[in-house]
């Protein structure tokens, strides 16, 4: 049987299928809370062959523990009994893992469909050529079989065939209290409603204690891939030409994203109007244009009076 767009899960004799005796309709499979790891390709909960290199490894995890990686193969728990299976339903998993506190184990319930029934009705490809292909015995409730094969009702991940990729397939997790939207991945801006929980960016290498110069409140979240320092930090930005058009829009967008904006413009009335609309802690600086004698102007005195070039400097407004 070829692995196609869904994952078959064959329950072994140690796992009593909950769907025995039921028609091949979507059913719900639940498992008790026990740690185990499954590959999305195989999706098996315990014994049996494991996939050599599953594309996605799902873990039942708590807090910031790694949720996906391409490196390790699935590990089976040696503990007897039924295992807690994860799901390839990305949205459900993501929702759960981002919503639950770090101390909580995640329990997922997925819809599964008895897909192998149709496959089992197919012709066997290895039949004797003289006799031609013959139908295989069906499994499932009408065949009185206790072996049920099911697959996720709507698998989100299609496992590709072919060689593995060397690309980094790690995922960046969102901590329980992390920012959202644009700020999911450490925006320097404070998202609306979260005044002091944003992440730092860029800069030089952190000092041995994990801090970058000028940054405070760094804490490591302990994730495998790093990139998880969260700081109490707000961006200080300066936008020139904020009196109208793009400058106004940029200043407003930065302020909405949580940055402190210092707006600069030669038009004091327009600039103040814009910055007043944004409000504190943002502020306005008036830009003044003053003649700046260029070397060429000095060399030709007749030009001094006509030099219209401006030298921009900012003075507190």
């Amino acid at each position: 049987m070829a692995w196609a767009t869904f994952s078959d899960v064959t329950l072994s004799h140690t796992m009593v299928p909950m769907s025995v005796g039921r028609p091949p309709a979507p059913c719900t499979t639940g498992y008790p809370l026990m740690h185990c790891t499954t590959g999305s390709k195989a999706g098996r909960c315990e014994y049996g062959p494991s996939e050599p290199n599953p594309l996605i490894e799902h873990m039942i995890s708590s807090g910031f523990a790694r949720r996906s990686s391409s490196q390790p193969t699935p590990r089976r728990s040696s503990a007897p009994g039924r295992k807690f299976c994860t799901t390839t339903s990305a949205s459900a998993t993501s929702r759960l893992s981002s919503a639950l506190p770090s101390s909580c184990l995640r329990f997922s319930v997925i819809e599964r469909l008895l897909r192998l029934i149709e496959l089992n009705g197919a012709l066997t490809p290895w039949a004797e050529p003289a006799n031609g292909p013959e139908a295989r015995m069906r499994s499932g409730w009408w065949a009185c079989s206790t072996m049920i094969t099911s697959a996720p009702w709507s698998a989100r991940i299609e496992v590709p065939n072919g060689p593995d990729t060397t690309a980094d397939r790690s995922m960046i997790r969102t901590p329980c209290n992390g920012p959202v939207g644009l700020s999911i991945c450490c925006s320097p801006f404070r998202p609306p409603g979260r005044r002091h929980t944003v992440a730092g960016y860029g800069g030089g290498p952190p000092s041995p204690d994990g801090r970058r110069p000028g940054q405070v409140g760094v804490r490591a979240n302990g994730t495998a891939r790093g990139n998880g320092r969260w700081v109490s930090w707000t961006a200080r930005s300066l936008v020139t030409g904020i009196g109208a058009g793009m400058g106004t829009a940029i200043a407003q967008a930065y302020a909405a994203a949580g940055a402190t904006v210092v707006g600069v413009d030669v038009d004091e009335a327009a600039g103040r109007r814009v910055m007043d609309g944004i409000g504190a802690p943002s502020s306005f600086l008036r830009a003044t244009c003053r003649p700046w004698p260029s070397a060429r102007a000095w060399s030709r005195p007749s030009w001094r009076a006509t030099v219209a070039s401006t030298w921009w400097s900012t003075t507190p407004g």
Partner: protein, 184 residues
Amino acid sequence: MASHGRLDVVVNNAGVTKSLGFFDVGEADWDRIYSVNAKGLFFVMQAAAKAMRDGGGGGRIVNIASIAGKGYRGTSNVAYAGTKGAVIAMTRIAASQLARFGINVNAICPGVTRTALFDQVIDELVERLGGTRDEAEARAVRSIPLRRANEPADIAALAVYLASEPARNVTGQSWNVDGGLHWD
């Protein structure tokens, strides 16, 4: 700096232009346009980079250039196009020289954008070439593949991105926001 302690992001948006034919660009026009669009931008960028370097935490500089700097034929005048080309070049050089301080420098190249400057250029076009304002605007928009002029918010959205963490590895680039007017 004294009142805010540090500087993390600078947007060099200030700029001037006017609608002028090739033979109409005078030296005063040239000086003014270059002083504001190129010289002013550079020294703001230099001062900001100093503050960011001294702060030690890196930073982001976003320069507002224009597709005129890449050869867009509908530019307001040749001097303006020259200044915007200078902005793009300065952005690249600054990005390479400031990278070691953790400072990312990028440019945004707006196309036709509905701003006061756009209104002014349209008025000057009407005055110079005749016709109505609506016709001039329609001509400008008709040349855009997406048939839509920028709103200032279109530029602001990219400016926010370039200053955010997801853009941490983006530097020295010039981003067109123009509805498909110019590819480069």
